[in-house]
């Protein structure tokens, strides 16, 4: 399956996010794929096509940072925007240090999301 628009993949165990976020991204004009877990994303065919990965930090099983590590191991350099419901200001710098494009705290605004995704795509 070929996509013309830049593919943005969303990985989050929270159903609300998986339902709401793709719709918003599509309104922005991106192609979107949503996955309930890191394992599901890795097992899909969209890893290499993904231009921006919106990734929840805390998930059961493989966590967001775990997936980031795994992708680096596979030399899949996908720009990542982390999202998290934990309000801990210390998380953001450490995620940026790890190479993330952005780290957003839930709930985030549509503009901050768009800025983050655009920044990720620019990396490409």
């Amino acid at each position: 399956m070929m996509v013309t628009e830049s593919l943005v993949s969303v990985v989050d165990d929270d159903e609300s996010v998986r339902e709401s976020l793709p719709d918003l991204l599509r309104e922005f004009g991106f192609a979107v794929q949503a996955f309930a877990s890191a394992e599901e994303f890795l097992a899909s065919n969209f890893v290499s096509q993904t231009k921006c990965l919106i990734l929840d930090i805390a998930m059961p099983g493989m966590s967001g940072p775990d997936l980031q590590t795994e992708l680096l191991r596979r030399r899949q350099e996908i720009p990542i925007v982390f999202i998290t419901a934990h309000v801990d200001q210390n998380i953001r710098p450490s995620m940026l240090e790890r190479g993330a494009v952005e780290c957003l705290f839930k709930p985030f605004s549509d503009t901050s999301l768009l800025d983050a995704v655009n920044a990720a795509l620019r990396v490409n």
Partner: protein, 806 residues
């Protein structure tokens, strides 16, 4: 003649006349009346019939001589009275002469001397008897003149002294009486002679063999019928045995008094040796002791033995070879060495040559054995001549060994007691624990040394309750006095804490344990300990501070964690809501508007908002109490449990708890633990409310009572800082607190518990200082309202991700 006859007849005596040749020619009427002879019968030689035949020959001879020499004659002779009895008469016959000097007549006069004669005879017999008696007395008797000159002594006197009569006459300048007793004997005798009163003196008299023995000399005057002293008799009674027994008894008494009076052991033993030496003449006495290890001899006392002699005994091993005392101690038997010159024992230690070199020839050593049979030492007598003990010696040894045993055992007990006292004092000092004893009847107080030290009182001054109160911290004085009052009614031991305020301003924390002892319900005595727990208390207070800081930190941390969890759970749906709302807006703003998409996102927004609401509901359910247990319970008992559990904390806060629990309180149905949590909360609040109170007793009253309408009420009244009358309702709101470190949860939780029991919890300000909190619950709670039932709606299916475990 006739004229003369008339004169003679008239004379009162027995009178007669004779011619110059001696022929009786006239006898007066009294003569005739006495003899019963007529004048005719008596004339011539007829008168001779009236003369006692024994006296007649001498009389006739005397008369013959008298007539021949013409000299007056005086004869004593017995005349027969008319009744045949004879009486003594003094018969005087003298010549009558005429103017020229020729004998014309002889005149005879007989005077009755019967009385005198009898007296003379009696005296003679008396003296004879007396001498016989004196000689036959088996005790020494001396006879002296009224002036004290020795006239005679009886045979026992001569035998005892072994001296001649002439030697004894000079007793005052000899050693017959002991020189020490002589002055007093002479003085007593002189005084008795002067006053003519019997006397009694004790003195030592030297026996023929040179030994002095004690005598009691009894002096008695002998008087004639006129009361004049004729002689003195001096009876000497040998009282030596009695005197010795008395001395011995006095010695024993004195020694035992010394022991009882707490004289030191060396002094008592030395005195004992001196007593023995004065009692048994010529001996040297020593006491040696077995050392505490039981292996060597120690010095006891030996006042008359040379140090060099003792030095060779003291320190010797206790065995049969090293000497008589060591042997006696070792064998626990008496050891008699009657002649050290021929003695063969103890050769290994050359003991005999050593003793002989000190001039000793005999040694008798007797073990001193305790009541339990342990050998304490040995009692020894030494002599400078060879000799073996007599039964008298043995009885002496037995008695003094016994006293030595008492003295040594007493000293050992004293030492043990002193050791034990020292140990106790050390322990008390080390543990900062003093002990006291109070006699409730006499008010007498005994304090241990450490007790004085803790209170910083002079041990020389007897302690009074007033003195004690000057040390009690003013804030604790009321509680202390209240305790003091209660002592009289408390049966069992009890403990309590109070503080002392020392003169230098420092504060001591005291933990007191008291044990009352009663007789027949009346308090007899109180004893116990006082433990200075200042250091521990200060440590505890520091620890408490650290703990409360820690508790605060942990509360903040857990609150942070809780907040984090809540935020996470709520942020998830919020995130959905925001995203959906944004999408919705964008869909509606598109040309043409994507109404279906917007509707869908709006629907999802609502759904997510409901999810957020569910999270909150679930949180409430999590913090809600478990479902209440319903049981029948005794509120009094539940209250007592809580008071008991908190007593430590309450006492530490110096709160005086007064319980007024109704006797007739019915059982209630409810959750015991929950109700106890409420009571505990009320007690703590009351206690905390009084923490700043120092100007009045921190009194807390907890009361239960039955209310009308089948309800019970529990009231907790404090004397604390009180509450604002307008704020009584706010008190029960969550997070409302008047305490600097309070969470403000307790009262709101308490109220919800009481409400779940269909009861009411309220607070009122007291008329005086402090506040009163109370709850009232029905005996059986009303059926639960749905509002109070816990809501348990699971937010999500995944149980692993519940709140608190992110």
């Amino acid at each position: 003649m006739d004229e003369l006859s008339h004169v003679v007849d008239a004379l009162p005596g027995l009178v007669w006349t004779a011619r110059s040749d001696g022929t009786v020619d006239f006898l007066n009427q009294r003569w005739c009346a006495y003899t019963g002879l007529s004048l005719e019968q008596g004339q011539g030689e007829g008168w001779q019939a009236a003369i006692h035949p024994e006296d007649l020959p001498e009389m006739l001879e005397r008369l013959r001589l008298g007539f021949a020499s013409v000299e007056p004659v005086e004869i004593e002779a017995r005349l027969r009275r008319s009744d045949g009895t004879y009486r003594w008469f003094l018969i005087s016959i003298s010549p009558m002469r005429d103017a020229e000097g020729h004998i014309i007549r002889w005149l005879g006069v007989a005077t009755d001397i019967e009385h005198r004669k009898r007296a003379e005879e009696a005296l003679r017999l008396h003296e004879l008897n007396f001498r016989l008696i004196v000689d036959s007395i088996p005790a020494p008797v001396a006879v002296t003149t009224p002036e004290g000159e020795v006239e005679g002594v009886n045979q026992p006197t001569l035998d005892y002294f072994g001296r001649t009569f002439d030697e004894l006459k000079n007793w005052k300048s000899s050693d017959a009486v002991h020189p020490d007793d002589l002055p007093q004997t002479i003085a007593t005798l002189r005084k008795a002679l002067e006053l003519g009163r019997p006397y009694n003196v004790e003195s030592r008299h030297r026996r023929a063999d040179g030994v002095y023995r004690w005598f009691n000399v009894l002096g008695l005057p002998l008087r004639d019928s006129d009361g004049r002293i004729l002689r003195w008799f001096h009876l000497q009674v040998d009282i030596d045995d009695r005197k010795r027994a008395e001395d011995l008894l006095a010695s024993e008494k004195r020694l035992l008094e010394m022991v009882a009076g707490g004289s030191s052991q060396p002094r008592v033993l030395e005195e004992l040796c001196r007593h023995v030496e004065s009692t048994a003449a010529g001996c040297y006495c020593s006491v040696v002791l077995v050392d505490p290890t039981g292996t060597h001899l120690e010095n006891g006392a030996a006042p008359s033995l040379p140090a060099s002699f003792l030095a060779s005994i003291i320190g010797r091993p206790v065995n049969a070879e090293s000497g008589p005392c060591a042997m006696a101690s070792y064998l626990n038997e008496q050891v008699i060495a009657a002649d050290l010159a021929t003695e063969t024992r103890w050769a290994e230690y050359a003991w005999c040559p050593m003793a002989l070199a000190h001039g000793l020839r005999a040694c008798w050593s007797t073990p001193i054995t305790s009541a339990s049979g342990k050998v304490l030492g040995a009692f020894a007598l030494y002599y400078d001549t060879p000799r073996a003990p007599t039964p008298l010696h043995q009885s002496l040894i037995e008695r003094f060994t016994h006293i030595a045993r008492i003295a040594i055992e007493s000293a050992q007990k004293d030492a043990a007691l002193k050791r034990s006292e020292t140990f106790l004092a050390e322990v008390q000092r080390l543990s900062s624990t003093g002990s006291f004893w109070w006699n409730a009847v006499t008010g007498e107080r005994t304090w241990s040394e450490e007790m004085y030290r803790i209170f910083e009182f002079d041990p020389a001054v007897p302690v009074t309750i007033e003195m004690m109160e000057t040390r009690i911290h003013p804030e604790d004085l009321a509680a202390f006095r209240e305790r003091g009052q209660r002592v009289r009614n408390v049966d069992s031991s009890f403990e309590f804490e109070y503080r002392l305020l020392m003169p230098d301003g420092s504060v001591k924390y005291i933990w007191a344990t008291c044990h009352p002892r009663r007789y027949d319900g009346t308090l007899m005595e109180l004893f116990g300990t006082v433990h200075d727990v200042t250091r521990r208390r200060l440590a505890e207070e520091t620890l408490d501070k650290v703990r409360s800081q820690l508790a605060h930190v942990s509360r903040v941390t857990s609150l942070g964690a809780l907040t984090g969890s809540i935020a996470h759970e709520v942020n998830q749906p919020l995130s959905g809501i925001v995203t959906n709302a944004s999408t919705c807006l964008r869909m509606l703003a598109a040309e043409p508007p994507n109404v279906d998409g917007a509707r869908e996102t709006a629907r999802r927004t609502i759904r997510d908002a409901n999810r957020a609401s569910d999270v909150i509901t679930r949180l409430r359910a999590l913090f809600a109490k478990k479902s209440a247990m319903s049981e029948s319970l005794d509120l009094n008992e539940a209250t007592r449990e809580v008071v008991a559990l908190s007593s430590d904390e309450l006492q530490r806060n110096r709160v005086i708890v007064r319980e007024e629990l109704a006797d007739d309180l019915p059982l209630v149905t409810g959750d015991r633990i929950q109700l106890q949590q409420v009571i505990l909360n009320l007690l703590r609040n009351a206690s905390d409310a009084m923490s700043g109170v120092d100007d009045r007793p921190r009194e807390l009253m907890i009361k239960t009572e039955r209310e009308e309408g089948d309800r019970v009420r529990l009231t907790v009244q404090d004397a604390g800082m009180g509450i604002d009358a307008h704020a009584t309702d706010k008190l029960f709101e969550a997070f409302y607190t008047t305490k600097s470190d309070g969470m403000g949860i307790g009262l709101s939780v308490s109220r919800s518990i009481i409400e779940s029991h269909s009861g009411r919890l309220w607070a009122v300000a007291n008329d005086g200082p402090g506040a009163t909190f109370a709850f009232s619950i029905p005996l059986v709670p009303a059926p639960r309202t749905p509002r109070s039932a816990p809501v348990r709606t699971a937010v999500r299916a995944n149980p692993e991700r519940s709140i608190g475990q992110p």
